[in-house]
Amino acid sequence: MTKTFDKITGIVFLLISILFIYESLQISGSAYGSAVGPKTFPLILGIILGLLSLRLLYETFNSKSEQKGKSNLDIKRFGIILLSAIVYVFLLEILGYVITTFIFLVVAFQVMEKGKITKTLIIAAVFAVGVYVMYVNLLGGNLPKFSLF
């Protein structure tokens, strides 16, 4: 796992550094005659990042592959929670804070561990409504309201 990941990160960071160097060169130079303009610092960073990525790739290809015990990852549980979090963000400004937070929490609680529906509903409702009332009514903050109609 680590070795494959290292290879990928090495390549990704190398690409980022190339992009960064290229983009730094596009930035116009100094505006007021000073020797160093806005492009110097990013350019240096880009070059160092590139060298470090090469170094990482070199280390990765040189090291012997280590056999790691296969860890038991709960991809399904994580996937559902991540997906519902994305949907939550997407719907936040449409359905408002209270509804989306409530639904997200109910889904996430049940994905974590099935059962205890009443307790789940109560905790989710108390959190969603509680945060909204505390923040908007007591502290005068602003959170998205239901805005479909």
Binding site: S24, A35, V36, I81, V89, G141
Partner: protein
Amino acid sequence: MNTFQFLIDGFATALQWHNILFALVGVIIGTAVGVLPGIGPMSGVALLIPVTASLTSGMPTDAAAASSIILLAGVYYGAMYGGSTTSILLNTPGESSSVVTALDGYQMAQQGRAGAALSIAAIGSFVAGIISLIGLVLLAEPLSNIALEFGPAEYFSLMLLGLCAVSGLAGKSMTKALMMTIFGLVLGTIGIDAVSGIARFTYDLPVLYGGLEFLTIAVGLFALGEVFKTILEREADAQPIAKINRILPTKQDLKDSAKPITRGSLLGFFIGVLPGAGATLASFFSYITEKKFSKKPDSFGKGNIAGVAGPESANNAASGGAMIPLLTLGIPGSGTTAILMGALIMYNVQPGPLLFDDHPQIAWGLIASMFIGNVALLVLNMPLVKVFAKVIQTPQKYLLPIIIAISFFGVYAVQYSTFDLYLLLACGVLGYLFSKNDYPVAPLVLALVLGPMLENNMRRALTISNGEWNIFVTSPLSLIFLVIAMAWILVPLILKFTGRKVIVNEEE
């Protein structure tokens, strides 16, 4: 005005009723954060920045900044307290800084001395907290006076030193740590350049003009990263918790731990002041020292109370010591202090030598509140040890989704944009992947905070010198900083080359 006068004024700030409340809430949340496995001090502080920002939104800026930093610092040293509880009762350290506490603490719990171990940890933490605060009070003025003499070149080199120190000690691979540091600096250049007003790497996207928000990245990498880790790596069910019978330590216990506490506090304080070396290293060193000083080194690992008292004092003293470079020089030495610094910058307060002149209310208010917070921790924790032991049993089923919800709320309340929420999720996934594959994330956050300042000082120095790069080596102070910075990177490499083992600082 002298230091004493300033300190009295600080107490005047810290003793305002809402600030006492903030300090109390901070240390209680901090203890809970320390007790709960899965949230460390770094994610706890990051998670609470937006919450405090909204709590203090009605106050004038200076007072708001003082109150928030009082709460956040409370979380920081409160977590150091709480971390020992799980080590002793469960043999599962809540933080990396209490790993060594588990060695003897859990053994003591097995022998029915859990209460004594917990209270000695609390007493040690208290003494250490006070000792490091006295050090902070004494060193603050002279250090910030020295720092006032620094020009841009010295500042640039000093920041470089801070970055090198943190990368040099973080994680297993230095290449990876350095990559993370540079990546943080790279991310910090996104947005409108403060000096020339030119947009860099924004691709005409309005959300990027202000740059990537530090808060979003920190909460994502630390808080969400850890939550995702726990969701993915389903852990075995909790073990039974050791019973707490007698809370107060015996006279013999106190006598045995007096010296370890003193040694641990002093050692921890000096290690904490050094950039890069944090509470984890301090507790390790203290354990080794105690073992050397002890008349019965064999009894370590079998429930020797000195093995609890020393390291616990050391990690608390280190967290106090770490405040010194942050407050006086404006250079955070660890991940958590980087986050505290980010919080101050959010309030437009620049930590550094000028902090004590420009915002004495914040600087001395914070120091005074740490005295109050430490007393509160001692008073609260002795009787509440059993309650906090209960916190360990909070079911993850409810805890983890609520942490996600809190971080969403926090980031949205401060940034008011869904772009930041997507960024938050992305950082969470990255944070998990990075730390799983030994890419330390603390240097990234530190670099993100220091990046803009590093660049500005570099450019100012080069403007002064008409573009001559040798300004960084002709100024003697700057040269010294650069040499030390190089040493932080090179010495571990040389040691590794000669086949010696290097102690690295785990994320804290």
